[in-house]
């Protein structure tokens, strides 16, 4: 049941029954950033690069369709044939002896140790270190045994180590200085260990991948993958409309009607790990040592949420099926509390009452509430893109309850800078949640307040939340404990959760055996096939 909801496995057409004849097949897709460094650790700064890296590199284990991350059997074997627990702090993975780099050299345990060392080299600037903090060290046991030592016992050890470490080829990179890896000849034509080989890159235009016929888990069903670089989202949609590309993920609501009208496309929705929320700053943006003059009051935070018709906003942006949770819970965590995905509805009278109870009244008759001569005026920090329309509507709805919101729309880089420095009243954040709910620690727990590099940029700290989190992190039967965590967050209002969209994906109908993964749609592309009777010229 859960599986059907989380992953769209598009019904396989009777492929084998038709004929044994197959076509090589080609997938053309367009991505928004140029995938110039499609390799892990030293590259992959963007989703596009990570998407390509997924095809070129293979991790120790793949996620189970249930997306559950706790337990020693959370993963399915990929690069690792098997793994065994040595003790509560040690797990050893055994690499598949058939695994090869694209140059024919076998993948060795040393490759993973080398990758781990690179991750920990500050000059590399690898961004996943906070997630990997529980791993103390990685050690090679013989040629194919990779032993992970953890700092503490917790149920997600296998997931953490096996899913988050994509190996780099030590035999090619070890002799290079760390600084020059990203500009080496290897980087311009990466050699990986995944189902696809890097064929060529036409700068500014596209990247071409070719199936590795010797891939040890089986030859990929589609011979060639072309990843076009098209920074403009409308141009990406146009390419799909004109039939020049085959896929598009996160199709905006505004494009659905147009794409539905195309008989060649199939639209499916899968769970998404994206969560949009308006994050309240708990501290004064001018001086993070002081509480926020307006937002420190939970009644105000509650009222600001109640003043919004979140359902209508979310549906106009993402269509039906979008969740509007009351806690940091994207669709991939819907299993914690499915009902939590439908948050409390708009209640303007109650919002007004809460604001009045907090002492906010319109004494000067200018339509804006005030208290002690200070107007209830907040700045919304908004980066360009999908959050823009939300900001406009939030501004509009708050105006109706006497709250003045100024939209401060800034480019991505200054947005990040101001967000990380805590210089905002309300931040329109969008995050991609990790499949593991333990990642809540990084953004919401007291332990991360004031820690440089933490994503708890609003300095939130709630002891009751932390206690429940601690319970959930070590519990071997965590479902009830995670429910408690979500419940606490619902009462605490550190943010207004605006939308937990589903991912609407458009895929050309000629593909079969299509599986779309929730966190990264094209992860199992190598298993897809083209129905020979529906093949296009480009598939031959």
């Amino acid at each position: 049941m859960r599986q059907a909801f989380l992953i769209a496995a598009l019904a396989a057409a009777p492929l084998a029954a038709q004929s044994p004849r197959t076509v090589p097949g080609t997938v053309v897709m367009a991505v928004g950033e140029e995938p110039t460094r499609p390799f892990p650790v030293v590259g992959s700064k963007s989703t596009a690069e990570a998407d390509v890296a997924d095809q070129l590199f293979l991790r120790l284990g793949g996620l189970d369709p249930s997306l559950r991350t706790a337990g020693d059997n959370a993963l399915r074997p990929e690069l690792a044939r098997s793994w065994k627990r040595i003790d509560s702090l040690t797990i050893q993975f055994e690499l598949d002896p058939r695994a090869r780099w694209h140059d024919g050299v076998p993948v060795r345990a040393h490759d993973l140790v080398y990758t781990w060392q690179l991750m920990n080299n500050p000059a590399v600037g690898f961004n996943g270190l906070a997630t990997l903090e529980p791993i103390e060290s990685v050690e090679a046991v013989g040629a194919r045994g990779v032993r992970f030592h953890f700092r503490r016992a917790f149920p997600e050890q296998v997931y953490l180590a096996g899913f988050n470490l994509l190996p780099l080829p030590a035999h090619l990179l070890e002799r290079l200085p760390v600084d020059s890896i990203a500009t080496s000849s290897w980087a311009s034509k990466p050699i990986g260990n995944g189902p696809y080989r890097f064929a060529r890159r036409v700068p500014g235009d596209f990247v071409e991948l070719r199936a590795d016929p010797a891939f040890f888990l089986g030859r990929p069903g589609i011979a060639r993958v072309l990843v076009r670089f098209v920074s403009d989202p409308v141009a990406r949609k146009n390419l799909l409309l004109s039939g020049e590309t085959d896929l598009l993920e996160n199709v905006p609501q505004s494009n659905l009607a147009e794409l539905k009208a195309l008989p060649s496309l199939r639209l499916v929705t899968v769970a998404n790990n994206i969560l949009l929320y308006a994050l309240f700053n708990s501290r004064d943006p001018a001086d993070t040592a002081r509480p926020h003059p307006i937002l420190a009051d939970v009644r105000v935070r509650d009222a600001l949420g109640l003043a919004l018709d979140r359902q209508t906003m979310a549906q106009s942006a993402f269509g039906a099926g979008v969740g509007v949770p009351d806690a940091a819970q994207s669709q991939i965590w819907a299993w914690i509390t499915p009902r939590g995905m439908a948050g409390q509805p708009q209640n303007v009278p109650r919002a007004r009452a809460l604001l009045a109870a907090a002492g906010w009244r319109d004494t000067d008759g200018d339509g804006i509430l005030d208290r002690n001569g200070q107007p209830l005026r907040l700045t919304l920090l908004v980066p360009p893109g999908v959050r823009r329309p939300f900001a406009v509507q939030v501004q509009q709805m708050w105006r109706a309850v006497g709250v003045r919101a100024d939209i401060d729309e800034v480019d991505r880089a200054p947005y990040t800078e101001r967000r990380n420095a805590g210089r905002f009243d309300i931040d329109f954040a969008a995050v991609s949640q990790d499949p593991a709910p333990s990642s809540l620690v990084q953004s919401w727990s007291c332990a991360t307040v004031g820690v440089p590099g933490s994503t708890n940029v609003a300095h939130w700290c709630d002891s009751s939340f932390d206690q429940r989190l601690a319970t959930a992190l070590t519990s071997q039967r965590p479902l009830g404990a995670w429910k408690g965590v979500i419940e606490r967050m619902t009462a605490w209002h550190p943010a207004i959760f605006l939308a937990a969209p589903v991912n609407t994906v458009a895929v050309h109908r000629r593909f079969t055996n299509v599986t779309i993964w929730p966190t990264r749609s094209w992860r199992s592309l190598w298993l897809w096939q083209v129905r020979p009777e529906a093949a296009l010229p480009r598939d031959r």
Partner: protein, 268 residues
């Protein structure tokens, strides 16, 4: 009055009238998002030019956009012209080191790619308010005007009537402001009028790249950016602001050309 002048003036007057009267005719204020069931509606009795993706009244946004787009362009040209004419006058009349320094300053200003400077400035500072955006566009537009005024000043310096004034004992300052400066006004006015057209297009381009006014403040370029997404379903969202841009820019061009013909009959 020539036909071009008349056409230009009529167009500008019509746009000004819409900017002023638009809010009265509009179904709802430009910033008001309505029920989303009313979004992307074609023109109707309630909303004469239809509604946008937030069910906002397109006529109201067009009118507010006219105020912003035309206001920004005019203010920008005013800034560019004032700054450019001062520098140009000084460069044209100074001697020695000051002359070469000012000439070099103008050359350097012309050598800097305006679009890049604007993109960099706006990207670094975030969304600018309406007057600030106008000033920034103006501040990057002075070198062209300075070159023009410098050229005119140099030409007039050797004009017989200026030489006569000098011979009569007028101070250099008096010559500059009483004799030379008025002579540069005509070409300056022509260039400024034509410059309005360029400034309108430049602002539209910046807004289209997403570097325009803060939300929900509309400008025609920003409306075009929003319209792109809905071109297949709601073409009026594109045509309305595009028509505004074409009319305003054409009007400024027509007026500028007409002024040139009447003020500088000898120039081509």
């Amino acid at each position: 009055m020539t036909r071009g002048t008349r056409a230009g003036l009529v167009l500008l007057a019509a746009l000004a009238a819409i900017a002023v009267l638009g809010p009265l005719l509009a179904g709802s204020p430009y910033f008001q998002a309505n029920l989303l069931t009313e979004a992307l509606r074609p023109p109707s009795a309630a909303h004469w030019l239809g509604t946008d993706q937030f069910a906002r009244d397109v006529l109201a946004r067009f009118a507010a956009g006219a105020r912003n787009s035309l206001g920004i362009a005019s203010l920008a040209v005013l800034v560019a012209t004032s700054l450019g004419s001062v520098i140009g006058l000084l460069a044209g009349s100074a001697d020695g080191f000051a002359n070469s320094a000012l000439r070099r300053l103008i050359d350097v200003g012309l050598a800097l790619p305006r679009v890049i400077v604007l993109l960099v400035l706006i990207a670094a500072t975030g969304r600018l308010s309406t007057p600030a955006l106008a000033v920034v566009i103006g501040l990057t537009g002075w070198p062209g005007m300075a070159r023009l005024v410098r050229g005119e000043t140099l030409r007039l310096r050797h004009a017989p009537y200026v030489a006569a004034a000098r011979a009569l004992g007028a101070t250099p300052r008096r010559v500059l402001f009483r004799d030379i400066f008025p002579g540069t006004l005509a070409p300056m006015l022509v260039a400024a009028t034509l410059g309005v057209a360029d400034a309108i297009l430049l602002e539209a381009g910046l807004s289209f790249l997403g570097l325009g006014l803060p939300l929900p403040e509309p400008s025609w370029g920003g409306m075009l950016l929003d319209a792109r997404e809905y071109l297949g379903q709601a073409p009026w969202l594109l045509f309305v602001p595009a028509a505004g841009l074409v009319l305003a820019t054409s009007a400024a061009t027509l007026l500028g050309e007409a002024l040139r013909r009447s003020l500088q009959p000898d120039s081509r």
